[in-house]
């Protein structure tokens, strides 16, 4: 990890730990996924609509960077983006590929994930506060 970068402060290493960077990235993805699910449910009755989701290559890119050892550099280029879900089949005559139950489950799952990630980020910040002040409160 690059501690001695010019213009960076002493707290930077904390905000560049793999866990923190990963949580931040995944939190972005959770928000994008929430938007995708909102659009899918909104269009549950629109003829010909195809469901969208966060592209699976986002997680793969993150995994690859994690395996390469350093998440903090170049990770800005990894962004969650939306693609049409090609694997979703349409069983309806109007060609719509949204299943509302599936979307609601995905939403709940995403919500739990979001809660977990915000908690991780909060804990990171709390640890930093504790280190600075010596108090837990």
């Amino acid at each position: 990890m690059n501690v001695a970068l010019v213009g960076h402060t002493m707290v930077d290493p904390i905000f560049q730990s793999d866990n923190y960077v990963l949580a931040r990235k995944l939190l972005d993805a959770a928000v994008v996924r929430q938007e995708a699910i909102a659009a899918n449910i909104a269009n549950a009755e629109t003829p010909g609509y195809r469901r969208v989701d966060v592209a699976p290559d986002f997680a793969e890119q993150l995994k690859a960077r994690l395996a390469a050892g350093d998440l903090s550099t170049e990770s800005a280029a990894i962004k969650p983006r939306l693609i049409e879900d090609a694997s979703a089949r349409s069983l309806r005559p109007d060609g719509n590929s949204v299943e509302i139950e599936h979307e609601l489950l995905a939403m709940n799952r995403n919500s739990v994930e979001h809660e977990y990630l915000t908690e991780i980020i909060s804990q990171n910040i709390k640890q930093l506060k504790m280190a600075i002040t010596g108090r837990t409160g």
Binding site: V32, Q34, A38, A39, N43, D53, L82, S111, I121
Partner: protein
């Protein structure tokens, strides 16, 4: 970027489903209307939806699309003819053309619309919860 992610999309869906509920109510209310301003019995109205681009991602492929009412069209199928010579709108041979409203079909539409409305409401609730949690980061 919205503070509450996707709330504009959900709002559009709620409005669209509300319109659909209104039209269903209108159909059911006029299930026995044999005379309208344009003459002839009431014709069933049908709502159709279409997507509306909210945010494009350029070449990346997927885009966020909200929903809106494309049009309210008229169902042109013929209504049932009932023999009722006392009816003021009966023809010379005593037949009255009733509206082409099918109550059971309207009820199914009503339930579908209100379930979809509920699903969108729960999305709104969830988005709000997520925004609140995001604001609580670090607390």
């Amino acid at each position: 970027m919205n503070l509450i992610s996707g709330i504009d999309i959900t709002a559009s869906a709620l409005a669209a489903q509300k319109t659909r509920l209104d039209i269903v109510a209108q159909n059911i209310a006029n299930a026995q209307t044999t005379r309208t301003a344009s003459g002839g019995p009431y014709q069933r109205q049908v709502v159709s939806f279409e997507t509306e681009l909210i945010r494009s991602q350029g070449s990346a492929g997927g885009a966020l699309q909200s929903v809106r009412v494309a049009q309210v069209s008229t169902d042109r199928s013929p209504g049932q003819q009932v023999y009722n010579p006392q009816h003021p709108d009966a023809t010379a041979d005593g037949l009255v053309t009733m509206p082409n409203v099918n109550l059971s079909q309207e009820m199914v539409d009503l339930i579908t619309a209100s379930r979809t409305y509920e699903a969108n409401l729960s999305v709104a609730k969830n988005a709000r919860m997520m925004a609140t949690r995001t604001l609580e980061i670090g607390k």
